[in-house]
């Protein structure tokens, strides 16, 4: 029931690869076998098997498919969902599910009032371990309804693993010069009415930790500025229109500070409280060079950013008050000196960034403490990594399928999935968990 600790990641990798090799076989078995499956083992202890039983009630198939897919995408459990079958009734045959490799069974039903009733069976203990009732919005299959079902998946994941899932989150990205949003499972990709033309191009979206505000770089014929939009009221507010360029906004974890890069002779990192109307103050001094792409450590005490102050782009770290600048990505990995776009993980341990290998960008992480580096991608051009709120998944831009698309990577198991299938997508920004937002 525990996931591999990051420090032991290397030790686990062979097991994970073995599992990955088994997965196609498991999927094939799913396709061809109806009813009972036997003989599948799911590396108990690392990824518990969870059987999502057929759901009773209205829109049951959609609910079951979503729960199952969310658990699968969470990469902490192995979702077992054979096609077909009837909703479970009466007492469960616990030994049968144990033989199937399931350590838990999710039994759900949509009640006549439209809420989702969920029971979690602990197979080893042969009893119901958790029960919950989750109200769902009025309109089945609407984006709000789906978001609520994702929230149920996340709670089930917490029941099973102790850690809440991230299915109830969305990803902002840039498409056709405008901002788009997509659900964590790739559904409901749509523009959100910001930018979309050459006259008003929106770039570099950044979420406020509340999920209510988004800051972005607006580019028009007059250059660039930083704008913050309240997604609840629709009100927009200009945060910075300094002479020169204004780019790459990022909120602090407490939501009270917005950092960004600006300047007309080189760019420096500035910070401002976007809610008080105060003047931005300078954090870094690039002396005519370019500092950009700030990202806060989860305690808000440090900022990582890209700078070319030594002649080529590297990732640096500075105290939030501007003291103690030091280069983070200084070790001799890769063959080209171009590292940029840092994003600090929510658990504070790692900074994801992009680095050129043979002239092509790849996504990597560097350990904030011991500076050990890990390359996460190798196929196509991969860039702009952003952490999911679980500090484990990363969304990034990749050309591996042709045009730029967003992909999601689990940094523990290296499982990867394509998130967007629109014309092209880039600069993904993963929202916080949207448990309270609409």
């Amino acid at each position: 029931m525990t996931r591999p600790r990051p420090c032991a990641r290397r030790r686990w990798r062979p097991a994970i690869f073995a599992l990955a090799a088994l997965l196609p076989a498991a999927l094939a078995a799913q396709d061809t076998t109806s009813g009972v499956r036997i003989g599948l083992t799911y590396t108990a202890g690392t990824r518990p098997g969870v059987y999502v039983a057929p759901v009773a009630g209205a829109f049951a198939d959609s609910v079951r498919a979503m729960l199952s897919r969310d658990l699968d995408y969470g990469d902490r459990v192995t979702a077992i969902t054979p096609d077909g079958g009837d909703p479970l009734t009466g007492a469960l045959n616990y030994p049968l599910y144990a033989r199937l490799g399931a350590q838990a069974v999710v039994q759900a039903s949509v009640t006549p009032s439209g809420s989702l009733h969920v029971a979690l069976h602990d197979i080893a203990a042969a009893k119901v371990s958790m029960v919950g009732d989750f109200p769902l919005p009025q309109t089945p299959l609407s984006p709000e309804w789906r978001l609520a079902v994702h929230g149920v998946s996340d709670e089930v994941e917490r029941w099973v693993t102790g850690t809440r899932g991230i299915a109830q989150s969305r990803i902002l990205f840039v498409r056709d010069k405008g901002l788009w949003i997509v659900d964590s499972d790739g559904a409901n990709a749509k523009p959100i009415g910001i930018g979309g033309s050459t006259a008003v191009t929106a770039l570099s979206p950044a979420w406020h930790p509340s999920g209510r505000y988004v800051a972005y770089c607006e580019m028009g014929d007059q250059g660039t500025r930083i704008v913050m939009k309240d997604l609840q009221t629709g009100r927009s507010q200009r945060i910075s229109a300094r002479p020169g360029s204004n780019l790459t906004p990022a909120f602090s974890p407490d939501g009270n500070t917005l950092a960004f890069a600006a300047g007309d002779d080189g760019t420096d990192i500035f910070a401002v409280n976007p809610f008080t109307g105060e003047q931005p103050h300078r954090v870094t001094v690039s002396r005519g060079q370019q500092d950009s792409s700030p990202t806060f450590s989860p305690d808000g005490q440090h900022i990582a950013f890209t700078s070319n102050r030594l002649g080529h782009p590297e990732v640096y770290i500075v105290d939030a008050d501007g003291a103690n600048v030091e280069v983070l990505t200084s070790t001799g990995f890769g063959d080209q000196l171009y590292r940029s776009n840092p994003d600090w993980s929510p658990d504070g341990r790692r900074v994801a960034f992009q680095s050129q290998i043979n002239g092509v960008f790849q996504v990597m992480t560097i350990n904030a403490r011991d500076r050990s580096v890990q390359a996460l991608t190798s196929e196509g051009r991969n860039e702009d990594p952003t952490w999911a709120p679980d500090g484990r998944h990363i969304v990034f831009t990749s050309t591996r399928s042709g045009a730029k698309q967003l992909w999601v990577l689990d940094t523990e198991t290296y499982r990867m999935r394509q998130l967007t299938r629109v014309g092209s997508a880039r600069q993904g920004a993963w929202s916080p968990r949207l448990d309270n937002a609409k």
Partner: protein, 199 residues
């Protein structure tokens, strides 16, 4: 009998006109055209004058148009020189030696038009990071501004912005396209209505 009588009347009128001219009893608006045989009726003189005036006006207009064309061509040349794009090396903001002439040609125009204000926009190719490239384009625009300031152009007359890699002029994943996109563009943002060509 009808036709000769009419020509006689015309002749008579011409004689009257000539005698009037000879005795100068009243100021004639313009010298009468040389008498021709048959002489033109006097009442045509005004329209002839008008035609002459129109011819003169047309000639003057043509000359003015030619002058305007020359001025416009000169102005267009000045504007083209001012707008001529400067190119950069990959991930660099230094002004290349082969690009300095392009900037030098702009200096006399800016010097002889003190009211002229320009905006320099930096651009990049699409190989680097999207976000870093906005900062790189800004650095290129600033580099151009520094060059012109060092040649005596007040830096208050030069705005700098960047479009990063968002507004390419050439598409393609090759050096030819990339080299065209790594550039600084120039736009007049003030004093552009009365530009003089440098002396």
């Amino acid at each position: 009998m009808f036709v000769p009588r009419r020509s006689t009347a015309a002749l008579l009128m011409a004689v009257v006109a000539l005698s009037a001219c000879k005795s100068k009893p009243a100021p004639a608006p313009a010298p009468a055209p040389a008498p021709a045989a048959p002489a033109k009726p006097a009442f045509n003189k005004d329209s002839a004058d008008a035609a002459e005036r129109a011819r003169a006006a047309a000639a003057a207009a043509a000359a003015a148009a030619e002058e305007a064309r020359r001025n416009a061509a000169a102005l267009a040349a000045v504007k083209a020189t001012l707008a001529k794009v400067v190119y950069f090396d990959y991930d660099k903001d230094e002004i290349r030696d082969d690009q300095k002439a392009t900037l030098e040609a702009k200096v006399p125009i800016l010097t002889s038009n003190p009211a002229l204000r320009i905006r320099v926009a930096g651009h990049t190719d699409d190989r680097g990071s999207d976000e870093y490239n906005i900062a790189l384009g800004q650095r290129r625009a600033a580099s151009v501004k520094r060059y012109l300031a060092a040649r005596g152009i007040a830096d208050t007359r030069i705005e700098t912005i960047s479009f990063g890699e968002e507004r390419p002029v050439a598409s393609g994943e090759n050096e030819e396209a990339w080299s065209q996109n790594r550039r600084a563009e120039f736009e007049i943002i003030g004093g552009g209505d009365s530009i003089k060509a440098p002396k």
